[in-house]
């Protein structure tokens, strides 16, 4: 559905050249749900905007829905749906009018456009607001309208740029329900950008981590976490028996870092364990055998933030600090 080859974008800002995207290769198969994850300024939106022909690549090629973005941008636009970061509805327009016109822009006839608009209003819980002007909608309602606008022409490939930024948790969940249902019903291919790691984690099958304009990881969230981060294990033992398990824990960490700090006669060890759930009981037994029984244990599954930290040495939340 998407194939790019060394896609690059450089901007010139005040005579200074900024390499926003540095040669990314992306392949997305039909029906996939892919998230571009990265801090603000990483190049995810720039990449998305090149794929949707809103930006012209500086070099490299991209084929989207079977059409070359440089050779036939209008052809690409006709085959995709795009839901940008802002609200798509014109302030003074009525919701229903905007939806129908959107359908007409994509070449639908008026009967089909009206029927489709009605269908989407219902499925997006906007039916009562059809004749409302956009400016009178709440934030969540506007975002649902954006999704409806993007879906008017039933695209087989849908791009969403930061779809849930600024939404409250309830509206986010609601939005995701709609997107997931769309996918289940129509097998739509979906590509989105997000800087919410939990969103990329729970919603996408595949996560492409972008940092400084480059792809630094591309896999399922589960595999990224298992391979790159591992579970975080914290065990506490009595201070006088700590020496007996230090070596044991180092070996369990398999070369990874083992942090320790002591307080109130207790030493707390922290380390990463791949397949922690399976290894932790074994480790506990070994600690017992070594005469240093664990006084407490905590096992936390990894997050994509841990993956990002592992890959870049930075937290996702720290943003694009270099």
């Amino acid at each position: 559905m998407i194939h790019t080859d060394k896609l690059t974008k450089t901007f010139t800002v005040k005579k200074e050249t900024v390499e926003a995207v540095k040669g990314v290769d992306i392949d997305v198969a039909p029906g996939e749900l892919v998230a571009f994850l990265g801090p603000n300024g990483a190049g995810k939106s720039t990449t998305l905007r090149m794929l949707t022909t809103l930006l012209r690549p500086t070099s490299g090629t991209a084929t989207v829905a079977g059409v070359d973005v440089a050779a036939d941008p209008a052809g690409v636009r006709a085959r995709i749906g795009y839901i940008g970061q802002g609200n798509g509805g014109g302030h003074s327009f009525r919701v229903i009018d905007e939806l129908i016109m959107q359908g007409r822009f994509y070449g639908m006839n008026s009967t089909d456009a009206a029927a489709r608009a009605q269908e989407l209003l219902t499925s997006m819980d906007l039916a009562d607001l059809a004749k409302r002007t956009v400016v009178k909608l709440s934030g969540g309602q506007r975002r649902r309208m954006d999704v409806a606008l993007g879906l008017m022409h039933s695209p087989r490939l849908l791009f969403l740029d930061e779809p849930s930024t600024g939404m409250d948790p309830q509206n986010r969940a609601n939005l995701w329900n709609h997107i997931m249902r769309l996918r289940a019903e129509h097998g739509t291919t979906i590509v989105l950008t997000t800087h919410y790691m939990d969103e990329a984690d729970s919603m996408s099958e595949r996560v492409i981590v972008i940092d400084h304009g480059q792809i630094i990881a591309d896999d399922t969230a589960a595999r990224l976490k298992a391979n790159l981060a591992g579970d975080l294990l914290a065990v506490e033992v009595a201070a006088d028996s700590a020496a007996g398990v230090r070596g044991l824990l180092r070996r369990a960490a398999a070369g990874g870092e083992v942090n320790e700090n002591s307080y109130d006669g207790v030493v707390r060890f922290r380390l990463r364990l791949t397949e922690g759930a399976r290894l932790a009981p074994v480790l506990l037994q070994q600690m017992n055998d070594a005469g240093a029984p664990a006084q407490s244990l905590e096992l936390k599954p990894p997050t994509l933030d841990d993956v990002f930290l592992e890959l870049t040495g930075r937290n996702l939340r720290e943003g694009a600090n270099r």
Partner: protein, 267 residues
């Protein structure tokens, strides 16, 4: 396959542009149609202007400057050009709101051709003029205005062509002044009044000093006003032809500048 030039590879045909323009125009027209009150005011404005400025003009300047025409016959076409000027030069201001929200970007992501985005919007600002122009012509008949419907209609078409050009320039100005909205207003207002005065819309340029007459020759609006005056007086001649030419050149320049402005944003 490789991308190598910044040249636009998108070259939609005329049929495509006309087809797309229809929908862009129609979307914009939904605003006044859903809120017809705005139209009532826009219809009243030229009448007020004509009623208050017209008598003063006749009294202050005197009949000879009008080339033998009645004040009304001379002034009315000027008012029509003025409405076109004010209306279509505002094309970009309505775009500014859409630039601030995501509405412009959403439409940019549709397959619509770029020139149709400008033409459709410019024509929306021009459309009320057809009603306004015909209305003020009808209202003026009792006051000695002689109405030549076909000539007036042709005059409105010429203004439409001019309006596409000015609308596209206004559109480009809005894009260039994105995030600095005051620039749009500064430029629009600064250009509007000299252009208007130097075209002889309000007062006959023949009454002014030589330098003004010379300056007016470089103002496309001058030719437009002259064309409208000729047409409203019921004849078609050199002035009409020059006016049509000036309108067409404005449209061509406007669209080239406008499409460049849109494409500049994607680089």
């Amino acid at each position: 396959m490789a991308v190598q030039s910044t040249e636009v590879l998108e070259k939609p045909g005329l049929v495509q542009i006309l087809h797309d323009t229809r929908f862009v125009f129609w979307r914009e027209m939904l605003l006044p149609l859903r809120d017809p009150f705005s139209l009532v005011f826009s219809l009243l404005q030229p009448l007020v202007f004509l009623g208050l400025f017209g008598p003063l003009l006749g009294a202050a300047v005197g009949a000879p400057a009008f080339g033998g025409q009645s004040t009304l016959q001379w002034f009315l076409p000027g008012v029509v050009v003025m409405i076109a000027l004010f209306g279509t030069s505002m094309t970009g201001s309505n775009l500014q709101y859409e630039l601030m929200t995501g509405s412009y970007e959403r439409i940019l992501a549709t397959p619509l051709s770029r020139s149709s985005l400008m033409i459709g919007r410019a024509l929306k600002e021009w459309a009320p003029l057809v009603v306004q122009g015909l209305l003020i012509a009808l209202v003026c008949i009792p006051f000695g205005f002689v109405f030549y419907p076909l000539h007036v209609l042709f005059g409105l078409v010429i203004l439409g062509i001019f309006g596409i050009g000015l609308g596209a320039l206004s559109y480009a100005l809005a894009l260039v002044s994105q995030n600095k909205e005051w620039i749009f207003w500064g430029v629009q207002q600064t250009l509007l009044f000299p252009l208007m005065i130097l075209s002889g819309i309000m007062l006959p340029i023949e009454a002014g000093p030589d330098w003004m007459k010379t300056a007016s020759l470089f103002n496309p609006l001058t030719y437009l006003v002259n064309a409208e005056r000729e047409l409203f007086a019921g004849s078609v001649g050199t002035d009409t032809l020059l006016g049509l030419l000036a309108a067409s050149v404005t449209a061509a320049v406007g669209l080239v500048v406008g499409v460049r402005a849109i494409n500049r944003n994607i680089n």
